[in-house]
């Protein structure tokens, strides 16, 4: 046994808590190692110092005081509440905390119908609950909720060994929650693995106020105000929603938070989300008021995400930056690092790899130019050397309980070499002899996802928005640089068995939304207007509405290009940049959720985690329906959809009865109403008239839509009236059409008004889908339907439209879509792109596919 291993056992050795075998090994080592003996003595001395502290006895008369207090409370129950409400200001304080995070989370929960996970590990918290109208409820209210927990429906509540399933929205009264009980809210299938967000109400005892999602998040936020840790007291597990809220927090929120905490500097904190309930992809990049930067890490233990804080280099002269990591930080992939600031940290992190060493490690955070960042050297270290390179005072986790030992996320999702290719030094493999990653309690789908071939470039994101409306935009290729990619909060990562298929499907979806391909050459000229070489061909397929921007066919209904897309492949990765409105973005997300070939990956930005969840739900519904009937049964899908929509999300979906006449439709896209009804972001149903909205669902839908809208406005700082503002003219920043037509801005406005006035079911975006569905009737295969949709939307034709751009249009945001696949040469997308650019307007998918394969 080597010194570094022995060090990690010394405390337990001292306490006689080692196994006989291990203790013997340590003893043997100590006999010949004065250094380790010295350390042992220091630890012993430390423990002895504490052990010699005088024992304090309870003050006299305590029992009497307790009795009096109990009597007082029994006689006047209200007294307890009154006594428990000393911190009015805290409530207000919470409300101010992270408004954006709240909005985003609320948006997700309401609009996406996420199932949720609320996990209060350990024991009930004891911060005073708020009660009564208008007060901010607190998750601690659980303790006072007398076991009554209100759910939005569909979830299963497990309290200790008991569980209750909520049949629908409303209050569930089960066996009272025991003090100290865990509360876990499972999704409909009992799978908590990939549950994101939170949609749980705590109904306060004898109070009409229902704690909302926001309250929960705010309550979670309160944890962060704690100067010591982001875990709750005792380091108990924060819920996934805690992570979600942080992920949505921005720098200013955090700075504010830190100020409130009166903490000169946050030194350490981490989220400890139960192993199977980690919020995938959540990360956070924060800066404290004194310049410390926080970076979230996904730790080795799948249940832990750590925040490490360091100080940028400019401050390092005065005080060396210090990075403190959690003890169980045992090597990790940097999840959301701003490389320019944390490269040095990262470097040392992976050198050291083990938390113990890092805890006292002084790190000068190197400020590395973004351009240089990807070239961070990654020494080739065979995994077998990992154990030998453990820092001396690192914790040896070989004997840690299986629950605590699992492969790093990197190790599971990407081989080391591949992660290195992404510019990261990956964590070393688990030390020799360490247990294999334990079988996760995650759902099968998550397991399957993990089992997929490794991602060549696992790069996650921080939660900064890369670009919003009216931001200058030089080149989308520049936008898609490493730095921005890490910052982008609108990053959708899709997986597909085939790169080619994925790209084709994406283009099809882009086209379905009426998005147009951006002209790179024009863009490079930064605003120089160009005249198209030839008049673009009219768009075939469903007649779009509106006109403007010189889109050919505008007079005949050329669709206003609310979105532009561009393939910005880099380093062999297929990467699409889309500029579009938040509404369209939401619609697109819904479409992706419905896609059978594009699977939303967990690396996606937080907002898309809801989509991912939704997608998995859809897959489950399908699988269940197949299992029951041998095929997808429409009624089944409809019923489930209805139940889901009404119960969990309160968002329009096809009810069971309503679905029956549409068996064919539903068969083609089972449970489509779910996705349609739970359109992320807007909560608008987009599937056209076939979506029947129950009155109560409609109200909920409208409410969800309003909230989501607000959330988006907050998120993207979109001016509320952005949609009504005149579009910038050719001289103004913004989209520069190649073909100017008088009155095009007015036409566009008109088109928007028309779109706004249309019944929801008649919205243009719904039309292609509805038409496609109609056309697909009689078609037995889904492939035929999709083919039809492709033919109608004509991506190839869309490619004929060229727009230049030097600023992001005022009302648009940027989406980055990254394609991950196990196969395909890097040039797959480029080939597709080339093919699309040269394609004949009527080119079909069948024609494009072989070309892309070449």
């Amino acid at each position: 046994m080597q010194c570094k291993q022995v060090h990690n056992h010394l405390s337990a050795y001292l306490d006689r808590e080692l196994t006989a075998e291990l203790a013997s090994a340590v003893r043997h080592h100590l006999a010949g190692c004065p250094e380790c003996r010295a350390m042992l003595e220091e630890l012993r001395g430390t423990a002895d110092l504490l052990g010699r502290l005088p024992v304090r006895a309870a003050p006299a008369g305590l029992a009497d005081d307790v009795r009096r207090e109990i009597e007082r409370r029994m006689l006047t129950p209200q007294a307890a509440d009154d006594a428990a409400m000393p911190e009015r200001t805290l409530a207000a304080h919470r409300v101010r905390l992270w408004p954006r995070a709240l909005a985003v989370a609320a948006c997700l929960a309401l609009a996406a119908g996420i199932g949720l996970v609320a996990y209060f590990g350990g024991g009930a918290l004891d911060e005073p609950p708020a009660a009564g109208p208008g007060r901010v409820a607190h998750h601690d209210a659980l303790e006072e909720a007398n076991g009554r927990v209100a759910f939005r429906g569909g979830e299963e509540v497990t309290t200790g060994l008991r569980s209750h399933r909520a049949a629908g929205t409303g209050e569930v009264t089960g066996e009272p929650l025991a003090f100290g009980d865990d509360l876990r809210v499972l999704d409909e299938t009992g799978d908590v693995a990939a549950v994101e967000g939170l949609d749980l109400d705590l109904r306060l005892k004898d109070a009409p106020t229902t704690a909302s999602l926001n309250d929960m998040i705010v309550a979670a936020g309160d944890l962060s105000v704690d100067a010591y840790s982001f875990t709750d007291s005792l380091g108990r597990k924060a819920s996934a929603s805690d992570l979600a809220s942080l992920a949505g927090a921005d720098k200013s929120d955090y700075v504010w938070c830190m100020k409130e905490a009166d903490e000169p500097r946050l030194r350490y904190g981490y989220f400890d989300v139960d192993g199977s309930r980690r919020l995938a992809g959540a990360s956070v990049n924060v800066v404290t008021q004194n310049g410390d930067r926080g970076v979230a890490f996904d730790a080795l233990d799948p249940g832990e995400t750590h925040l490490a804080f360091g100080r940028p280099a400019q401050d390092a002269g005065a005080a060396p930056a210090e990075v403190l990591l959690g003890e169980s930080m045992r090597g990790a992939q940097v999840a959301g690092a701003d490389r320019s600031d944390v490269a040095g940290v990262e470097e040392r992190l992976f050198e050291k790899k083990r938390g113990e060493a890092l805890s006292t490690l002084g790190v000068d955070v190197a400020r590395v130019a973004p351009e240089a960042a990807p070239s961070i050297p990654a020494p080739a270290e065979p995994p077998t050397d990992a154990a030998a390179e453990v820092p001396e005072d690192a914790t040896d986790f070989a004997d840690v309980e299986p629950d605590e030992t699992a492969g790093t996320r990197v190790a599971r999702t990407a081989p080391k070499e591949e992660a290195k290719a992404a510019g990261y030094r990956t964590a070393k493999a688990a030390p020799t002899g360490a247990p294999e990653p334990r079988p996760s309690r995650m759902g099968k789908a998550a397991e399957a996802a993990r089992a997929r071939p490794a991602d060549p470039q696992v790069v996650q994101m921080t939660m900064n928005t890369v670009a919003v409306g009216d931001a200058p935009l030089g080149s989308l290729r520049e936008v898609a640089n490493d730095d921005n990619l890490r910052r982008a909060s609108n990053q959708l990562v899709v997986r597909s068995p085939s790169r080619e298929t994925a790209n084709e499907d994406l283009v099809r979806l882009f086209a379905r939304n009426g998005w147009r391909k951006l002209d790179e050459s024009a863009k490079r000229n930064r605003g120089r207007r160009e005249t198209p070489a030839k008049a673009p061909a009219p768009i075939k397929g469903p007649a779009p509405t509106g006109g403007g921007w010189g889109v050919p066919g505008g007079g005949a209904g050329g669709k206003v290009p609310e979105g532009l897309y561009y393939l910005a492949s880099r380093n062999g990765e297929d990467l699409w940049v889309v500029l579009t409105t938040p509404d369209d973005l939401s619609r697109f997300a819904t479409q992706v959720a419905q896609s059978r070939t594009l699977e939303v990956a967990e690396e996606s930005s937080h907002p898309f985690q809801a989509v991912r969840y939704l997608q998995r739900q859809l897959a489950r519904f399908e699988a269940e329906a197949r299992r029951r009937n041998g095929t997808v049964d429409a009624r089944m899908g409809g019923e489930r959809a209805g139940a889901y929509g009404r119960g969990q999300t309160r968002i329009a979906a096809k009810g069971g009865a309503g679905a029956a006449p549409e068996a064919e439709e539903t068969e083609r896209e089972p449970a489509r109403g779910i996705a349609g009804g739970t359109q992320v972001g807007t909560g608008q149903a987009v599937n056209g008239p076939q979506v029947e909205t129950p009155p109560e669902a409609g109200q909920a839908l409208a409410e969800a839509g309003r909230q989501a809208k607000k959330a988006e406005e907050d998120l993207f700082k979109k001016e509320p009236d952005a949609a009504q503002r005149p579009e910038p003219g050719p001289e103004a920043p913004g989209l520069v059409p190649q073909k100017d037509e008088e009155g095009e801005a007015g036409a566009r406005r008109l088109a928007r008004q028309e779109a706004a006035e249309e019944p929801e079911a008649e919205k243009p975006a719904a039309r292609p889908a509805a038409t496609a569905a109609k056309a697909a009737q009689g078609e037995s295969s889904e492939a035929a339907a999709e083919q039809q949709a492709l033919a109608q939307t004509q991506p190839a034709a869309v490619q004929q439209e060229r727009f230049s751009l030097h600023r992001i249009p005022p009302n648009q945001v940027m989406l980055i879509v990254r394609v991950r696949s196990a196969d395909g040469p890097p040039r797959a997308a480029e080939a597709l792109q080339q093919e699309a650019e040269t394609a004949e307007p009527a080119k079909t998918q069948e024609q494009a596919t072989p070309a892309a394969k070449e």
Binding site: L10, D15, E17, E42, L43, G45, T46, A47, L49, L50, G51, P54, V55, R56, A57, A58, P59, A60, G61, L62, A63, D65, V66, R67, E69, I70, R73, E87, G121, G122, G123, A124, D126, E127, A178, F179, G180, D226, Y228, S229, T231, S233, L234, G235, R236, A261, D262, E263, P264, R267, S328, G355, E356, S359, T395, D399, V400, E401, D403, E404
Partner: protein, 198 residues
């Protein structure tokens, strides 16, 4: 002590719980008296102030009483009480918004009551000053730890709980206790170096 209280004193915790839930309030008094000292000492070290420790301890017992019927005997009453105590202490401390730079103080005015059980009565006044100063330094060092490390080191090195007990109280795996404790001691070792050297 009443005869009833005296008879209660010989009962096990579980029996006392049963009596309390059956309506015997005196039995709860026995529970309080049985556990108050150990709990108080732990709480004191976690919150760092006698006044706060008293408030917290009272709160702990009130909570325990109110929730006693939910105590299912899955763990020992002692463990259950400690869990409540630790939660309440840390929550209390969090409310106080202590900062980790060390505002913990000892000897900030013990309320009238029994003297510390094991507080050595130094013969030499200068020894007494040294002892108080040493305690203050140690308490500050403990207070500078974050919650999870502070808790585990108090439970182990002050309350002498074994790893399994600590794991039960904190509801974490023993491996976590081991690593947290080791780290806590390493941190304390650094912060108490002057004392160790002495």
């Amino acid at each position: 002590m009443t005869a009833e209280a005296a008879s209660n004193a010989s009962l096990s915790d579980q029996d006392l719980v049963s009596r309390v839930t059956a309506g015997d309030g005196e039995a709860f008094g026995t529970i309080v008296e049985r556990h108050e000292d150990r709990l108080y000492n732990t709480i004191y070290r976690l919150v760092g102030s006698a006044e706060d420790a008293r408030d917290v301890l009272q709160d702990v017992f009130v909570k325990a009483f109110e929730n006693l019927e939910r105590f299912r005997g899955g763990s020992s009453l002692y463990t259950w009480l400690f869990r409540i105590a630790v939660n309440t202490s840390l929550s209390h401390r969090r409310k106080r918004r202590w900062v980790s730079t060390g505002t913990a103080s000892v000897d900030d005015g013990d309320p009238p009551g029994r003297p510390p059980l094991a507080d050595p009565a130094p013969a030499d006044p200068s020894d007494g000053l040294m002892a108080a100063e040493t305690e203050r330094l140690i308490q500050e060092a403990i207070g500078s730890l974050d919650a999870e490390h502070r808790t585990v080191v108090v439970l182990r090195d002050i309350q002498h709980c074994d790893y399994r007990e600590i794991a039960d109280i904190l509801d974490v795996p023993p491996g976590t206790v081991k690593s947290r404790l080791h780290r806590a001691r390493l941190l304390l070792r650094e912060r108490l170096k002057p004392l160790l050297a002495g």
